[in-house]
């Protein structure tokens, strides 16, 4: 019988309860968003006693399905003020699923401010332990110590100094397969919610649990798994030594740069002259030169057959940072005018160590540069600003609260945020459809919420002209809906590339989920469930005070033409509003 684990931070107690029947068919984002909507008052202060943190593995997580180790985390976001779902690839969710813990609900409020706790979950129950000795330290050291203490089998969720200090750019950190504190449910400041509850870590070790989670209809599940695996293994993008495995996600740097949609120096241009120096090709070549051999990418989490995660090495061939993904080399590179992988790598390492979302951190640094706190392109000055955050200086607190907060503190007008969350690495003026997703997603500016880049830029799932108007609302709506379902499966979103092109792969994903649950689902259920999730999230946001005005891109994008195409954002407000009109 699936159960919920309630972790009460007021009383330092952890109790299991049978999961109510209403939630029986829910997992991942479906479950976390529904539980947040049911249990958190929309008016709650995100860092106050009435917010909760919900963790849930996806349907396929903890099975033998490929690339299915995502954990979904939900709460009211202190960054956006709306509902938030953020997910990460880690063994943590697999251990939860094998222990048949459908969700962990962290609630309550500490009675002793400044004190931090850890929770250790095993087959014998969940126990609290004082965690003050790990507070105030960098995440690499803290994770090393905690894994030393609880053993290599343990997976650890936790927050860094940014979360402890309740900064609204604090992410939630998980270890990767080598125990590095490097896998983040980064977006939306959920680390601050964890910190506000006096929670430093949750450590999970399922020793004694069955090797796989229970599956209701094994034949259907295996049929689905086979189809999905086949699709991933044959698609050019996800196959072994294909694009993602060789160059990582940063292979997109040159592509977006060629397309004129690579946001540069705080969204003032769509082209960066230093792009080739920070691209996936440069990471591959740089590592090869420094290590004397070719280095292919690795899995961030157990069971991933796509394996896009990388490590950057320094001049001595020592590990410098992991992972240099597209979003991170963009935000901490091009967006700050920085063209050195060593500087961008150090900034990534610092984000991981302090416990920050790399996207928001880079968008914030660029706004700070716009404000004159450092010069664009000055990597060393950017690194210094990051240390301000680590030290918790007053300036550090401003920067640690994200781009919108920093922009307001320094009177900057060009602040690229929607619903208070920094825009990711695709310029909406040059790629219109992704702008619809940024504007209308309940998550705030988030590319993963509806990745129209696939047809607009990559030529996956058809071809669309990124600069053309018309049909972009429908395109975004379709992607947002399908994504809400994929975020519930526990699969990494990157399975979208093969399954959008290979129909049997898409069927396989549905059959896996249906097999786990023992139901019969078709593509119609993907739409039905996806829309239900989006409606739930949207309703929460409306009750929290969001209106149409919040579904808009920053104003400067409507009047500042973006080189090289010299275009403004010209999707009409009516079209933006049409995405959720009849949902």
């Amino acid at each position: 019988m699936a159960k919920f684990l309630r972790i009460n931070m007021t009383t330092q107690t952890a109790t299991y309860e049978d999961a109510p029947a209403k939630y029986a068919l829910m997992a991942g984002r479906y479950l976390t968003s529904t539980l947040v909507a049911d249990q958190v008052p929309p008016s709650a202060h995100p860092l106050g006693p009435n917010n909760k943190i919900i963790l849930a593995p996806g349907w396929a997580t903890g099975t033998s399905a490929p690339t299915s180790a995502r954990i979904s985390i939900g709460a009211k976001s202190p960054l956006t003020g709306g509902i938030k779902e953020s997910n990460a690839g880690t063994g943590f969710g697999q251990q939860m699923a094998r222990m048949e813990i459908q969700a962990i609900i962290v609630e309550g409020f500490p009675t002793t401010p400044g004190k931090f706790w850890g929770v250790h979950i095993t087959q014998n129950g969940a126990t609290f332990f004082p965690a003050d000795e790990y507070a105030g330290k960098g995440n690499y050291e803290a994770w090393r110590k905690i894994i030393e203490r609880f053993g290599k089998k343990a997976d650890v969720m936790g927050v860094g100094v940014a979360g402890e200090k309740r900064m609204t750019n604090a992410g939630i950190c998980f270890n990767d397969m080598q125990g590095r504190a490097s896998r983040y449910a980064g977006r939306g400041g959920l680390g601050a919610v964890v910190g506000s509850k006096g929670l430093k870590f949750i450590v999970i070790d399922d020793t004694g649990a069955p090797p796989l989670r229970p599956i209701a209809d094994k034949d259907l599940f295996m049929q689905g798994q086979k189809k999905l695996t086949q699709a991933i293994r044959t698609h050019d993008i996800t196959k072994p030594k294909g694009g993602l495995n060789t160059y990582g996600t940063a292979v997109l740097v040159n592509l977006l740069n060629e397309a004129g949609g690579f946001p540069t120096r705080n969204f003032s241009s769509g082209r960066f002259e230093g792009a080739p120096k920070i691209a996936g090709e440069a990471i591959f070549e740089g590592n090869k030169q420094r290590l004397g051999k070719e280095l292919y990418n690795h899995a961030c989490s157990p069971g991933c057959i796509i394996q896009c995660s990388n490590v950057w090495h320094d001049e001595k061939g020592q590990e410098a940072a992991s992972c240099l993904e597209y979003e991170s080399v963009w935000s901490l590179g091009a967006n700050c005018g920085i063209d050195s992988l060593d500087d961008a790598g150090e900034l990534v390492r610092l984000c991981n160590d302090i416990g920050l979302d790399t996207i928001e951190a880079g968008v914030t640094l660029a706004v700070a540069m716009e404000a004159g706190l450092a010069k664009f392109g000055d990597g060393k000055a950017a690194i210094k600003l990051m240390h301000e955050i680590a030290q918790g200086t007053p300036l550090g607190h401003i920067l640690g609260n994200g781009a919108a907060f920093t922009g307001r503190a320094f009177g900057v007008i060009r602040v690229p945020t929607v619903k208070g969350q920094g825009l990711p690495a695709y310029e909406p003026r040059a790629v219109k459809g992704i702008g619809v997703t940024y504007a209308t997603s309940p998550m705030g500016a988030d590319h993963t919420a509806g990745y129209t880049i696939a047809p607009e830029i990559l030529g996956v799932s058809g071809k669309q002209d990124p600069l053309a108007l018309g049909g972009k609302a429908a395109l975004s709506k379709g992607f947002q809906t399908a994504t809400a379902f994929i975020d519930s499966t526990g699969h990494c979103l990157f399975i979208a590339f093969p399954i959008l092109d290979i129909g049997s792969g898409f069927e396989g994903m549905i059959e896996e989920a249906a097999g786990v649950l023992g139901v019969q689902w078709t593509a119609a259920d993907v739409t039905r469930i996806g829309e239900e999730i989006l409606r739930t999230e949207r309703k929460f946001n409306e009750a929290a005070g969001f209106t149409k005005k919040d579904d808009r891109l920053p104003e400067f994008m409507k009047y500042e033409p973006l080189p090289p195409h010299n275009v403004v954002y010209d999707v009409t407000d009516e079209e933006l509003d049409s995405v959720y009109k009849d949902m």
Binding site: G280, E325, D465, P466
Partner: protein, 80 residues
């Protein structure tokens, strides 16, 4: 004859004569040559090139090249 400036990315770099990242190589082609002919001239097998950009715009294989055009080419790639 026309001259175009070509940048090859990701796995297409195996077909590049210019090995410096991001630097274009110059290719000479007969007047009226298309992208398809350019791909052949570079020795790249069919069906490997997924996206071709000219001055920031995606173009297809039947696109007729002009003298001095800037071209970027990619195999299937993706990220997030």
């Amino acid at each position: 004859m026309i001259q175009v400036r070509v940048r090859l990315y990701a796995t297409l770099r195996a077909y590049a004569s210019q090995q410096k990242l991001g630097e274009p190589q110059i290719v000479q082609l007969p007047d009226g040559a298309t992208v398809k002919q350019l791909i052949a001239a570079l020795g790249i097998p069919d069906n490997i090139v997924r996206k071709v950009f000219s001055q920031g715009r995606a173009v297809e294989e039947d696109h007729v090249l002009r003298d001095g055009e800037d071209i970027g080419m990619f195999p299937p790639v993706a990220g997030g």
